[in-house]
Amino acid sequence: MSVQPLLTARGLVKRYGRVIALNNADFDLYPGEILAVIGDNGAGKSSLIKAISGAVNPDEGEIQLEGKTVQFRSPMEARDAGIETVYQNLALSPALSIADNMFLGREIRKPGIAGSLFRMLDRSTMEKRARDKLTELGLMTIQNISQSVETLSGGQRQGVAVARAAAFGSKVVIMDEPTAALGVKESRRVLELILDVKKRGMPIVLISHNMPHVFEVADRIHIHRLGRRLTVIDPKQYTMSDAVAFMTGAKKPPEEALAA
C-alpha cells in the first residue's frame, strides 16, 4: 500500500512488574479502514489500544499520528487529537445518569444567558439526545433515562459507552469489545453503526472475539499474540479458521502475511 498510515506504533513495550503485556508490538491503521484486532485473552490487545489512546504510558516505543510523533499523557490529550475510545471496562461513572455519562467532558449548555453566564446545563436536550442515540442502537429496554448507570444491565451499560464514542469521534474511533455484553439485536446495531462511521470516512479499530462479526466488517485483521503483532491478514484471502489458527498458535502465519 502506498497510502500513508494514519496512526502507527513501533516497538511498544509495557511491563507490569513481572508481567510483560506488550512485548515490542507494532500497529498500523490506514485512513478510512476498519481494522479488527483479534487475539487470545490476555494477548495484550487492550494494553495496545490503551497505549495508543494515552490511557497508559508505554515503557518503550513510538507512536505517530498522521506522520507526527505523539505522546499522549492522558486520554484527554488523545481525545483532543480526535481519537475516541470505548474501553473494555467502559469508563462510565456509576453514580451519574446516562445522559451525564454520555456528555461527560463535553456537556451542552442552555442557550442564552443561562448557559453563557450561569453555565447551566441543558439537561433536557442532553437527555433527549441520549435517548435518541440509545434508540438508534436498539437499546429500547431502558425505562428511565435519568437512572444512574450503575443500575443498568450489563448490556445497557455497554450501549451507553458505545453510543458515546460513536457520537463524538472525529479522527479515529477505537472500540474494545463493544458488543461483548450486547444482545443479538443490539450487536447488529453496533455493527451497522461501525459501517456507518466508516462511511463518514473515519477509520475504526475494532477489538472483538466474535469471528463472524470481524470477518463481516473488517478490511484488515491485526492478529495479536503474546504481547506483539503476529501478522496482519486480509479477510478476503483467509478464512475464519485460518485466523483462529494463527491467533491460537495452531498454525504459523505465512511469511508474506508477516510483513503486512
Partner: protein, 354 residues
C-alpha cells in the same frame, strides 16, 4: 466481506417501542418512595423535622420560639459553611482535615492586616481569602500532582498551618473593641436583624446562599458533574476525558477559599479574633454534618443540601439537650446516641424507599 448471520435477518421486524410499565393506580406510599428515591437530600430533612418535633414536645414552647430556632442557625453558620467546603472535597472521595485551621489562619490574617498593620479592611479581607485559597491550592497540588492520599496531605498541612498560625500570630488575640474601631467590615456577617421575634445574622443568610449556589453549581453545571465523576470512579473519569487533576486542584482551592469565607463569618460571630480557635474541633463537626447529611465518604454520592440539614440536625440536637438541662456528660452520651439514631432513621427511610 462475509454476510450477517442467518438468524440476524429477522431483526428488521423487532419491536421498536421503549419499554414502559403501567403507572396506573400507583399508591401514595409508592409515590413517596419514588420521591425520596429521586431526592436523597429529603431524607436528612425529614430527620431534621423529626428532631425539631421531638425536642419541641419535650421542651415546650420555649424551644419553638423563633428566637431559639434562629439562634440555632446562628450557632451552626460557621460549621455549615465549613461543611459545605468539606462536602466538595468529600464528593471527590477526599477529605480535608485542614479546613478548620485554614479558617483560623485566614481569620488571623484578616485581623492582623486590618488591625495590626492598619490596612483598609476592604483589602485585608481579600488577603485573608487569598491565604485560604492558597492553603487549599497546596492541598490540591499534593493530592492531584504528587498523588498523595488526601487524609495524609491534609493531616500534614493541618500541622503545618496550625503551627504557622501560632507562630505568625504570636498567640495574640485581637480584641473585639479593636476590630470594631478599626475594621468594622470584618464584623459584617455578625450584623443581625429581626424578623418578628426571629434574629437572623448576615452570616446565616450567607451560609444558606452559599449552599444554594454550590448546589446549583454541583447539579447544573458541567464542572459540578465532573466533581461527582472524579469522586465516583477517578479512573473512569480520566478515561472519559475529564481533567481529573484540574478538578481536584479547583475543588481543594475552592474549599480553602470557602474556609476563609467562614473565617469572615466567624469573626462576625465571635467579635474578637483568636488564634486559639484552632483548638475547637471544627473539622470533626463539619465532617459530622456532612456525613449525617448523607454524603458518602467514598465519594461521588450525596447532595450538598443534605450537609445543610446535617448541620442543622447537629445544632438542633445540641441546643435541645442544652435546654433540657442535661448534665454535660449525659449530653455527650445523648449526642452519641442521636448521631447514630439520626443516621439509622435516614438509612431506614432509604431502605423502605428503595
Amino acid at each position: 466481506m462475509a454476510q450477517a448471520q442467518e438468524f440476524e435477518k429477522v431483526l428488521s421486524d423487532s419491536d421498536k417501542s421503549v419499554a414502559s410499565f403501567d403507572e396506573h393506580g400507583v399508591s401514595l406510599l409508592r409515590r413517596v418512595q419514588h420521591f425520596l428515591h429521586g431526592n436523597p437530600a429529603a431524607v436528612p430533612l425529614i430527620v431534621l423535622v423529626l428532631s425539631i418535633i421531638i425536642f419541641g414536645v419535650a421542651i415546650g414552647g420555649r424551644f419553638f420560639s423563633s428566637y431559639t430556632l434562629t439562634l440555632i442557625l446562628q450557632q451552626i453558620a460557621v460549621v455549615g459553611i465549613l461543611g459545605a467546603a468539606q462536602t466538595l472535597v468529600i464528593l471527590t472521595a477526599g477529605i480535608d482535615l485542614s479546613i478548620g485551621v485554614v479558617m483560623v489562619i485566614s481569620a488571623v490574617v484578616m485581623g492582623n492586616f486590618a488591625v495590626g498593620y492598619g490596612w483598609p479592611a476592604i483589602i485585608a479581607v481579600p488577603v485573608g481569602l487569598l491565604v485560604g485559597a492558597l492553603c487549599g491550592l497546596l492541598n490540591g497540588a499534593l493530592v492531584a500532582y504528587v498523588k498523595l492520599p488526601p487524609f495524609i496531605v491534609t493531616l500534614g498541612t493541618w500541622n503545618v498551618i496550625m503551627a504557622t498560625n501560632f507562630i505568625y500570630s504570636a498567640n495574640e488575640t485581637i480584641r473585639e473593641a479593636d476590630v470594631s474601631a478599626q475594621a468594622p467590615l470584618l464584623h459584617l456577617f455578625g450584623t443581625s436583624f429581626k424578623v418578628g421575634n426571629a434574629v437572623l445574622t448576615l452570616g446565616v443568610i450567607a451560609m444558606v446562599i452559599l449552599v444554594l449556589v454550590l448546589w446549583y453549581v454541583l447539579n447544573h453545571t458541567a464542572w459540578g458533574r465532573h466533581v461527582y465523576a472524579v469522586g465516583d470512579d477517578p479512573e473512569a473519569a480520566k478515561l472519559s476525558g475529564i481533567q481529573t487533576k484540574k478538578v481536584l486542584m479547583a475543588v481543594y482551592s475552592l474549599a480553602g477559599l470557602i474556609a476563609a469565607f467562614a473565617a469572615w463569618v466567624a469573626i462576625g460571630r465571635n467579635g474578637s479574633i483568636s488564634p486559639s480557635w484552632a483548638v475547637t474541633d471544627y473539622n470533626l463537626q463539619a465532617i459530622t454534618a456532612t456525613v449525617i447529611g448523607g454524603i458518602s465518604l467514598f465519594g461521588g454520592r450525596g447532595s450538598i443540601l443534605g450537609t445543610l440539614f446535617g448541620a442543622m440536625i447537629v445544632g438542633v440536637v445540641s441546643m435541645g439537650l442544652n435546654m433540657l438541662g442535661a448534665d454535660p456528660q449525659w449530653k455527650v452520651f445523648l449526642t452519641g446516641v442521636l448521631i447514630i439514631g439520626a443516621v439509622a432513621i435516614d438509612q431506614w427511610i432509604r431502605k423502605v424507599s428503595a
